[in-house]
Structures are given as structure tokens and as C-alpha cells.
């Protein structure tokens, strides 16, 4: 027999032997001791206390204790209280009484122990339930703490990230800004929480930003835009604003998270690069123009030199005393020949530039202008110029060379922006289109510059006429030649606020 088995056996003996017997013995002894004095008061053999003892034994000791109590009680009653007294025998007339007692006692033991069992099952169940509830409660508290801790850490993280972070509700209203954003925005941080952050954007960036943000909100798509954000010191810096929707489990957008990345350095670098690039292209343009001019000049100078020499000689022959008419005539003959040669040079130069790459495509003028506005955006920002487009809807398409026409628009737009450098008022460049009847479309570029003088008005489209110190004087001349090649007209007008350049193109049938 192993120790475990012995242990189990002893526990088993304790549980089902000693403990029930002891309980039963105690109850029955108490009942017997109380019954002795009471039997003198009551005439019939007084056995009710034994019932109580049996009930108690069965209740507290279980069914075994109940049966032990029944046996003990029966023996004690038979011995002490049923005649003949102090004998184990039972008188004939008392046998039915004893039988009734034993049956009742058994019934009481069974019922009491059953009740007890049922009750303890219920209690057990309740205890278990309570234990479980306690356990659950503890768990819940623990996880609550964990969540709080995690949230605290997350918040610490968002506060620690050296970027500006915000959270907005589904409508785009900001609910939370991290410390960096609050520090950067300064006094207006409170209003930022209440209103949308459009109020801290640069006026020129706000409309575009609003459009992008609203469409992102509607579509539930991520949003990204570059814009100038006003800092606490009132100065603007360029930021890359990026926002992502956060969806709840049912796929609905729960909130928006946004981050502002400072790109001021990058932006200014980019601007410098861009302007360097522009300078370069302008430089190379004038360079190639200069080279071209030099070669044309050389080509023309040769016949001109010969012409001038012969012409001078001719005059001298005629002025001589006496006049040498035959030499003069020869010189004049050569002059005629040389003139033809010079004219040929001019013709060659012209054929070099004319219509060699003739292109006509069905083009939407408005979309050309929209593209152009995109191209000009950086330039406009650098010059603090706002570009406003006023494009007529449903314009018919034009048969044009889109590159050339865009070149014209670009030239006019840059002219307009340059005209506004150094003026005090709002620098607004308006590009508009409109239909003139069904046959023509007009496009205009209007600036708020100082306008032009009457003397310039007649010559501004001529080549080499410029009012700009580093201008080539070719811009408007090229514009005019492009527009005229398209069978259109171009002119300039003085408006009450500045200059309007306007060109008209025919709608092809």
C-alpha cells in the first residue's frame, strides 16, 4: 500500500466513518440525556428528541450519520425507554411502536440528508458563482488599468513625437492637438480646437486646402497637401499636412488623424532650385538667341558690306572730275546683284523658323489654362501673386497647337506677374476665357500692374522692344507670330487697374 493510498484511505475513513459516527453519537447522546428527565414528565415513551437528533445528524453529518443515529437511537430506545426497560427485548405491544419509530427515523434521516444535500449543492453553486464574479471583477479592473496605462503611454508618445499631430472627429473638427502643435500655433490653439484649422492657414493656400480636405472627408480617403501654417509668432512656415481616416469595425469612419510635417527648409530649397533652373533656362534661351542673332548678323553683314562698299564706290565714281560713269554703272550692277543676295539670306532665315513643325490638335483651351495655372503656382507664390481663373463653361474645342498656345499664355502670365513686382496693392492675375458668339473664343490675361505708356502701345509686339532691363524683347513678338499663325488676333488694353492682354482664336468648323 502506497502512502497516497493510505492517505486516501484514512481520509475516506474520516469522512465516511469517524465523522458521521461522532456527529450521530453526539446528537443521540444529547437526545438521550435530555430524554431521561423528560420521560418522567410525559407518559408515553418520549422519543421526539431522538427524531431531532437523527434530523440533526443527517443534516450536519450526511446520510451515513443519519443512519448511524437511527441505529443508535433504536438501540437506546429499545434498551432504556421501551418496556421491558433495560432490556434489548421488546414487548409485543411495543413492537409496532418501535417499527413506526424506526420507519419514521429512517424517513427523517433520508429526507433531512437529501434536503441538506440539495441545499449544499445550491450553496456550492452560489459560492462558485460568487467566486467567479469576484474573479471577473478583478480581471476587469486589471485590464482597465492596463488600458489606461497603454493610453497614457500612447499619449506620451504622441506628445513626445517632434511633429504636430491632431485628431479630428468625423466632420473634420479637431478634438485633440499634441503639445507641439499647440506650441507652434500658440494663442490660437484654443480656437483651433473649436473651429477648423483653415483659420491658421495662409490665405492663398486655404481655398485649395479646403477643397482637398472637404473632398477627402466626403470620400473618406487619405488627404495630403502642402500649405503655409501661421505660427505663434505670426510667421508662416510650409508644412506637409497629411491626414488618414480611422475606421471603426463596421467600416464607418470614426475619426481622422493628422500630422503636420515641417517642410519649410525643403520648400525654400526647392524654390531656390526652381528659380535657379528658371534663370538657367532664361539664360540659355537668350544665349541661343544671341548665337542665332550672331549667325544671322554675319550672314547679313557679308552682302551688306559688299553693298555698302559698292554703293560708296558708285557715288565716288560719279562725284569724280570727270565722272567715271562706266565704273559707276558696273558698281550699280553689282549693287543690284548683292541686294538679291541679301534678300535671299533673309528668306533663308525666315524659312528656318516658319511652320516647320505645324501641329493642330483639338484642344480644350480651359484645360490648357488650368494646367498652366498649376505650372505657375510656385512662381506665383514666390512673387506673392494670386492667380484667379474665370473660365467660361462649355467652350467649343479649338484646332490649335497646344504647346504654342500654352507658350503664349505662359508668356503673358509671366509678363503680368513681372509687371506687378513692386506694386503695393493686391497682386492679382486673372486669366479668363469667354465665347464671342459661336465663331470665336477670347482669352485674356489681366494684371494689376502699372500699365503701359502710349508710346509702348504701338510697338510692344515688335521684336526687340522691351521695357525690362534683361528682356530680349522677343516674348510678345513670338506671341503675336504664334497667334497670327493660328489665324487669331492679339492686343493689349489698358484697364482701370492694369493691363489686359487678350487674344481671340477662331473656332474651326
Amino acid at each position: 500500500m502506497t502512502a497516497a493510498q493510505a492517505n486516501r484511505l484514512s481520509r475516506w475513513t474520516m469522512e465516511y466513518g469517524i465523522k458521521p459516527c461522532a456527529i450521530a453519537g453526539c446528537f443521540v447522546l444529547v437526545a438521550m440525556l435530555w430524554t431521561f428527565p423528560l420521560q418522567h414528565v410525559i407518559a408515553y415513551p418520549f422519543v421526539f428528541l431522538f427524531f431531532a437528533a437523527i434530523m440533526g445528524s443527517a443534516w450536519f453529518g450526511g446520510v451515513i450519520a443519519g443512519f448511524v443515529a437511527v441505529v443508535l437511537s433504536s438501540v437506546i430506545i429499545t434498551y432504556f425507554f421501551i418496556p421491558p426497560l433495560y432490556s434489548i427485548t421488546v414487548a409485543k405491544e411495543s413492537q409496532s411502536f418501535l417499527a413506526a419509530f424506526i420507519l419514521s427515523a429512517l424517513a427523517i434521516a433520508i429526507v433531512s440528508s437529501a434536503r441538506k444535500r440539495a441545499e449544499s449543492v445550491v450553496r456550492n453553486a452560489r459560492d462558485q458563482l460568487e467566486a467567479k464574479v469576484r474573479e471577473r471583477t478583478a480581471e476587469l479592473q486589471r485590464s482597465n488599468l492596463e488600458i489606461q496605462e497603454r493610453e497614457r503611454q500612447l499619449r506620451m508618445l504622441t506628445e513626445a513625437i517632434p511633429q504636430q499631430i491632431w485628431r479630428a472627429d468625423t466632420s473634420g473638427r479637431i478634438e485633440y492637438c499634441n503639445q507641439y502643435l499647440r506650441d507652434y500655433v500658440g494663442a490660437s490653439a484654443e480656437s483651433l480646437l473649436r473651429e477648423s484649422f483653415l483659420s491658421i492657414l495662409h490665405d492663398e493656400d486655404a481655398p485649395l486646402f479646403r477643397r482637398g480636405w472637404e473632398s477627402a472627408l466626403m470620400a473618406g480617403r487619405r488627404f495630403e497637401a502642402e500649405a503655409r501654417v501661421r505660427g505663434a509668432d505670426g510667421r508662416y512656415r510650409w508644412f506637409l499636412v497629411r491626414s488618414l481616416p480611422h475606421r471603426s469595425e463596421d467600416g464607418q469612419i470614426a475619426r481622422w488623424y493628422g500630422i503636420h510635417i515641417d517642410i519649410e527648409e525643403r520648400h525654400s530649397l526647392q524654390q531656390r532650385l526652381l528659380s535657379a533652373h528658371e534663370d538657367l533656362s532664361r539664360f540659355s534661351r537668350t544665349m541661343s538667341l544671341a548665337q542665332m542673332a550672331a549667325s544671322i548678323a554675319h550672314e547679313l553683314n557679308q552682302p551688306l558690306t559688299a553693298l555698302a562698299s559698292h554703293a560708296s564706290a558708285c557715288r565716288r565714281w560719279l562725284q569724280a572730275e570727270p565722272a567715271n560713269v562706266s565704273r559707276a554703272a558696273t558698281a550699280a550692277e553689282v549693287i543690284v546683284q548683292e541686294t538679291t543676295r541679301a534678300a535671299n539670306v533673309v528668306r533663308r532665315v525666315r524659312s528656318l523658323f516658319s511652320k516647320s513643325d505645324y501641329v493642330r490638335e483639338s484642344t480644350d483651351l480651359n484645360s490648357l489654362i488650368v494646367d498652366l495655372a498649376g505650372l505657375l503656382r510656385d512662381d506665383a507664390i514666390r512673387r506673392s501673386v494670386s492667380i484667379k481663373l474665370g473660365l467660361a463653361e462649355d467652350l467649343p474645342k479649338l484646332q490649335i497647337d497646344p504647346v504654342q498656345i500654352q507658350q503664349v499664355l505662359l508668356n503673358l502670365a509671366i509678363n503680368g506677374m513681372e509687371a506687378m513686382t513692386g506694386i503695393d496693392g493686391p497682386r492679382l492675375l486673372e486669366i479668363t476665357t469667354k465665347a464671342l458668339g459661336t465663331e470665336e473664343i477670347a482669352a485674356s490675361v489681366k494684371d494689376r500692374g502699372p500699365g503701359f505708356s502710349e508710346t509702348v502701345k504701338t510697338s510692344m509686339f515688335d521684336p526687340f522692344v522691351t521695357t525690362k532691363p534683361e528682356g530680349t524683347g522677343m516674348g510678345l513678338a513670338i506671341c503675336r507670330s504664334i497667334i497670327e499663325e493660328h489665324d487669331g488676333r492679339i492686343w493689349a488694353e489698358q484697364s482701370e487697374q492694369g493691363t489686359v492682354f487678350q487674344f481671340v482664336l477662331k473656332v474651326s468648323k
Partner: protein, 216 residues
């Protein structure tokens, strides 16, 4: 091209690959009564060039083969004193500077006025005349110097350096009287009227410290 003609009348030599320009220039120059010759390349000019021909060269910068600047350099190298007028259709300053530094009399940018060319040619002729006169003078001095004996030449050179008769006598181990005799002989043969004349002539014969055209 014979020597008789070339020695008498100065000629304008025009070099330009553009025949029309060449013809035009010559027509103009002839109308001013000048003698001209046309060449279409530097090589063609060099072939027929005779250093004895007086006049000037009107040269285009851009030529096929040898360029105008190269021809100019080559003439200077050969010791030719022919004045050069440079023409170009490209009036870039570096080239102008280069041409004038190389000794061009004038730089003309095409197209130019007739007066500009005529004035330049006039100037070039003047330069040429002066140079040729100076050259002739040196030649005659040289011819006279050749009639001197070796000792007389020695005495002349020492006189020209500024030494006194006594110093010369000491240097040549001769008596002062002998030096005086030699000296009189030198003055006579060199046809020098004064001591200063003799010094000048000696300088022309021995152009050590100055340009050979100095004083021309």
C-alpha cells in the same frame, strides 16, 4: 608685280573669301584713286607676296584655311612691316584686343562706312611710308658704315658710348692724336655733321636697347 611698279605706288591688298566683298572694297578703294589687289585666301596672298611692295593689307578674320589672325602673325614673324587692317563681322572685344595687340593698324566691323576704310588705309599707308623711309635710312647708314676700316668702326662705337678721346686712346692703346685723326675720318665717311648725328647713326646700326624702328 614687277619691282619697278611695286616700288613706286602703294597698293591695298584685300584678302576676303567673299568675292563680292573683295570686289566691293576694291571698287571703293579704286574710286578713291588707290591701287588694289584681291586675294581670296591667306595662302594665295602669301604666294604672290613681295616684301618690297609698299601699301597695306586689308584682312578678313574668318578665312578658309589659314585665318586672318594667323596670316598677320606669320607676316610679323617674317619681319614684314606691311601694315594690317583687320575686318570682321563679329565685333567681339577679345578679338579686337588681340588684333590691336598683334600690331593691327585698325579694326573694322562689317559693314563699315567708306570713310572708315579710306581713313584706315590712309593711316596704314602713312605707317608704311614711315617704316620704309626708316628702313632706307638704316640701309644708307649701313652702306656708309661699310666704308669704315675696322679701327674707325671701333672708334665710332666708343665715341657713341660717350667716352672722351683720351679715354678711347687709353682703351685702344693708341695716342690721342691718332684717335683724333680716326675720329675726323669717321665723321667724314659717315657724313655726320655733329657728334649727335654720329651717336644716332651708331644707335641705328646697333639696335641693342631699343626697337629698330625707334625714332622713325
Amino acid at each position: 608685280m614687277n619691282n619697278v611698279a611695286s616700288n613706286s605706288v602703294p597698293t591695298v591688298f584685300t584678302v576676303d573669301d567673299d568675292a563680292a566683298i573683295c570686289a566691293g572694297l576694291c571698287d571703293l578703294l579704286e574710286s578713291a584713286g588707290l591701287k588694289t589687289r584681291q586675294y581670296s585666301s591667306a595662302e594665295e596672298f602669301l604666294e604672290s607676296w613681295n616684301p618690297n611692295m609698299p601699301g597695306c593689307l586689308v584682312l578678313d578674320v574668318r578665312l578658309p584655311g589659314m585665318s586672318g589672325m594667323e596670316l598677320h602673325a606669320k607676316l610679323a614673324e617674317a619681319g614684314a612691316s606691311l601694315p594690317v587692317i583687320i575686318m570682321t563681322a563679329h565685333g567681339d572685344m577679345p578679338m579686337v584686343r588681340k588684333a590691336l595687340k598683334a600690331g593691327a593698324v585698325e579694326f573694322l566691323i562689317k559693314p563699315f562706312q567708306d570713310e572708315e576704310l579710306l581713313r584706315a588705309v590712309e593711316e596704314a599707308f602713312a605707317v608704311d611710308r614711315a617704316q620704309r623711309r626708316a628702313e632706307k635710312l638704316v640701309n644708307s647708314i649701313q652702306a656708309r658704315a661699310e666704308t669704315l676700316t675696322e679701327r674707325e668702326r671701333q672708334v665710332m662705337d666708343l665715341v657713341a658710348t660717350g667716352l672722351t678721346n683720351k679715354e678711347i686712346a687709353e682703351k685702344l692703346y693708341l695716342s690721342v692724336v691718332t684717335i683724333k685723326l680716326h675720329r675726323g675720318q669717321v665723321m667724314r665717311k659717315m657724313q655726320a655733321e655733329t657728334l649727335a648725328d654720329l651717336v644716332k647713326m651708331s644707335e641705328r646700326l646697333n639696335p641693342t636697347h631699343d626697337s629698330d624702328r625707334a625714332g622713325a
